[in-house]
Amino acid sequence: MNTRNHSMPSHAKPRWSGQAPAVAVMAVLCFGAAQPARANTGGEMAVFYLSLKGIQVAALSGAADMWKALGSAEKAQECLGLASDLDKGDLANEDGMKKFKAKTAELSQTIGELSEAGLPLSREQQASAQKGALKLAGTTVLWAGVAISAVRIAKDGNLNMLEKIAIGVIMAGEVKSAADATGNLLSAWKAYRSMTAAGALKEPSKELAAQFAAL
């Protein structure tokens, strides 16, 4: 997310169609008066969005490693490209979070299918996947940053209840999206692990189960 916006820079031209939550939060903060006490809130917001951005960049870099592990240099490059765009902050108004989720979901879906098929990876592929998982593990500190800043904002006495609710709703959506995307990668990593065993097994759909009703 575009954390540069925490003090509503003069050059910012909010493109609301792009659903830029950081800009929306800043709008809430700046609505009313430019109170000096709100600098603290702005600082916490900066920590919040910087941490979220860090999570996105690290997770996308991890996703790139996992795609590379699967043998798809093209998909790995797409993830790195997106990570780079997010890092520059260019995607705050271009639905970067949605793209982030889409990339991780696609990876998780692909690995899940490979895992169900029981197809294993080579040692080199496993090492690359492990590298990706380590990057994911590295986001723990950033998640702590997200949580701490969110709690501080919630306790901020300079914000009235309506402001807190408005900011809370936006932030909760952001956190959920980032958590979903991280969850996709965790699920992908679990699927990687099961590839070295006998492949994942799962319950059948109702339609398929009906074919086995006589068993």
Binding site: E113, A117, E207
Partner: protein, 430 residues
Amino acid sequence: MTAFLGVLLAAPMCALAASVQDGAAMEVRYCGIGFLGKDADKKNNYRYLSQSVIKDNASLGKVSPLLLSLTRDANTHLHIVDDSSNGSNYSLSYIIAGEKYERQPFVYPLTHQTRYNNIFTVMLNTVVFDLQQGQVIGIYPWIFQYNEASDAPLADGDIAKRFGEFFRKPEPVAEGEEPPADAMLTAWSKSVGGLAMSFKANTISASPVQFSEDAAKLIMDGGSTPEVMSRDLTTRYEAILSQSLRLPVIPSGGGGAGAGDQFVAAIPSCVGQGEVTLTLPAPAYRFAFDVGVLKSGSVVHSVKRGPDGDQGTVDQNEVGYGARIHVQVSQTDESDTVNHGKLILDNRLRAINAKTYIGKREFSDGDQFGKLLVNFMTQTANNIVDPQEKWFKEHLSAEESKTKPSAVQSAWSKFVKEKLHVNPKEVAHK
């Protein structure tokens, strides 16, 4: 597993519970590492490990202290003394009981290139025995399987190297990280960490897995051999039961062995050159897992792609494999030459597993049935330890449509508590 060599002899022996005093924890003398079978057959039975871990006494001598040290670190409740002058009647050895290597070609869907699935299996048993009496007290089997892909078929030397590497000292793993998938001894340590050797423990056995005629035909059509699959599955069931119930197993190895059969192993650090021949006692309980029906099926779903379903729809294939299993448990009675004991549990269950994919995949039906059955063995063993009514609701066969799941749950629960004397909570905490 191919390496279990049960040489038949007829001399029924008493079960562990009857031959030793009750109550006390068992103290054992560490007797080193060895391998099942005769030294002369080593190269035939262990094509790869005979080039590394069990190549000679020096090689065995390197691994032996590592296994002991890992055991002591993982399980502080075991009384293992490392002193040959110790007067304990009982000895403990780690016995390599099998190695297996399979190579399966497959088309990798992302690159459409042919690759190879290299499947490595190692069986490493913990064996407690009475050397003076020449008798096995109990065997705790453990199986490790590891799959690894390669772009080209692996050379013999590379395969042997990989098998040897499984016995390396586990690498330290930072908190929050997971050990490498091929860290065999890390996984083994966890298993040994749960061992509890007690004079009160019942011994158990898995009867050789049997297939109905129709099921055997499907297995053959799927590219496997029923005899080989039966042997593999029986060995798996022994290990799964032993691990789940924390009880020692008297192996039948798929060959129909029983009380009085011989257990032949080479353990140089314990008995010098040559082999030690021990007698297997009769198990207190036998567990049967017979396959009555095997069936496969498929269905095509139209599914949305993308996290928000905004990338259009595609056809998704779902294939399923199912089986009807006849699970029986009987209390052994060697004097009962007709029924060989009293039947305690007798239920028919159904197992179904599915996998979904987009595009084209190739599956070996034989492999898929094998995976299904091993997976269901684990579920069955878990429900022997801690029976769940919900599981029986889902898995009782259509042939038992009039049986109440709660009644089955109650019967299984009674068996594990009153006969096996296994407390699910205790087992879960070990």
